[in-house]
Assembly symmetry: C2
Homo-oligomer: 392 residues x 2
Amino acid sequence: MDNFSYCTPTRYIFGKDTESQTGTLVKEYLDNPSKILLVYGQGSVIRSGLLNRVKDSIGKQGIDILELGGVKPNPTDDRVYEGIDLCRSEQVQAVVAVGGGSAIDTAKAIALGTIYDGDFWDFYAGKLPATKALPIGVVLTIPAAGSEGSGNSVITKKEGMHKISLRSDYALRPKFAVLNPELTYTLPPEQTVAGVSDMMAHIMERYFTPTQGVEVTDRISEGLLRAIMEVAPIVLKEPTNYDARANIMWAGTLAHNGICGCGKIEDWVSHFMEHELSALYGVTHGTGLAVVFPAWLTFMAHHKPLRVKQFAMNVMGVTTKGDDLSVALEGIEKLKMFYKSIGLPVTLKELGIENPEFDELVRKLHENKGDIIGGYYRLTDKDTIEIYKLMV
Amino acid sequence: MDNFSYCTPTRYIFGKDTESQTGTLVKEYLDNPSKILLVYGQGSVIRSGLLNRVKDSIGKQGIDILELGGVKPNPTDDRVYEGIDLCRSEQVQAVVAVGGGSAIDTAKAIALGTIYDGDFWDFYAGKLPATKALPIGVVLTIPAAGSEGSGNSVITKKEGMHKISLRSDYALRPKFAVLNPELTYTLPPEQTVAGVSDMMAHIMERYFTPTQGVEVTDRISEGLLRAIMEVAPIVLKEPTNYDARANIMWAGTLAHNGICGCGKIEDWVSHFMEHELSALYGVTHGTGLAVVFPAWLTFMAHHKPLRVKQFAMNVMGVTTKGDDLSVALEGIEKLKMFYKSIGLPVTLKELGIENPEFDELVRKLHENKGDIIGGYYRLTDKDTIEIYKLMV
């Protein structure tokens, strides 16, 4: 096991009707602000009445509310600059996101940039670490990104469409996150399963590690993956099944708050490869991951099979005796079958990409991430093109 | 799943040589104090040189150190009063424990009582909730109690020998915990296995719940239990196996920081029953739990078997087909075999108690905890005497 430093300070308020506590949570956990910025998405929180309920709850505490609505998926830097200007000119003291990853990540970037003298993009460009920000609160509506419990934020620079993930140890972790599974009842199936794929990927990116002796983190990760695969089909059949929605929501948080990464090197190549698919073909991130991960696993089954075999046995329930490769491959087939069973694509063709531009994908991948990438197994462009080709 | 509110703000600094960071951690996470109280146990931290290393590290930051040493297992209120007097008269601003549960729990009680106008016992007597305390830091040497990551503290009132467990949501959670597995290399086997039994019990007390639909928390708990049972025999065979010690240490923290209790009613009867054995016969807490838990499980197998069956299959690996009772009982046998294999007793006789005073145990149990006890299944004195008798 590797040395690590780990802290998850977010107060999780989980359950039915919890959004009605938002006002008191803002007061208690965001340092009693007199004025906050509310960041939200494209309308579903308005249509559902949630935004008004949250505003009422905050307003009752005598706190002034400014708004930045209409944040889109794959959120961009222009909205962040807009939010920072607003926060600075209006002396906003805290930021609350209502929505999913896009609203939360935008809120985080605004919270970071408002109290920084320079350009907030400096942090995303890696020029300096993110160590302080305005306090952030979250009312979550889409379980997938895990941003409600993580110190991460992904923003796309419109100029050049660079999508960059920033990871802070502490500063960007929300002070509180309201998690009401009922708010996810109306999520359409395609968004639900994209979220399932995304949270599974967050666990698997951490699971595949060269680090030895991490039994505790391994068993937690395997258990979380099995729990997600148990309840995902229930959510699809019964979208208003509270317990199933609750398990998916809580799993999404734990998948990305760092508990599955304690004491080990992580991988993250599948995320990098998917980001290129999203950039080039506008693929939904979680959906794309269902295509990337089996291909990446297949490559690994042939090159470094031991953990893939462990995954096959402990997560996918493979009990067949056999050599490492055959057990690993059987596990990958079972994973694909699971993805298909909940309506996810597992090939580029099923994603609607008939003639993939492999050279371009690989060129951009390594341009963005370096010549050799990956924590579990180090990959060159010769390897990554092979993995992309396994997706057809 | 039940509604819950959950927050683990402790910064875990895990790994080799991490105790050398204590000084900077005190400065950063305990609000930059000029004077702290160092609480420790009965000499092993002195003999090993650890205490001096910690003092050097804190001293280098220009922080004054007062000391309260010699804290004993099952720590008592007299040492707490002593610490409170010291902290008040010397205007101490933070408390650091070096040791295991006894040192940490004493430090917590002192941190709580120092800034409270009345008698610190008011909190343990349940007269008011623990909502604020001096900031607390920990350098852990014995993984078992889980106090380094929990908001709990167990103190015994010398007058009447009342051992009371206080649970705070937040105030008593340490701000940082230094976890260096190497510091546990010298733990004697009997203390190592008592710790293993204690941390397993912390998970099982939470696992046995009447709450439905808690798949995520269930799978995490099962995984943690399996990880502990995997590495415990390695630790016994190779006391200086770093990875095995590291997994035990991290498991001990996660067993009790609340992650295994999210969204559910917990049980805790086995702890209550063991506390009476400890009080009457001076049994080591973790050792006693290895006797109590199989008996409690056996009673449950006959009265409410479903979760015991799930435990048998998902934790103990029972694959035999059969009715709920027989599968449950097979799981309990396997648990006993595990305990025996690492040298733990599983009967009162093996604990050295030849003629147990059942009536007295039951009388004190219900006097302390109420007429009907237990979260998984409600027990009267007719039930609890039956469970004690299953331990012979």
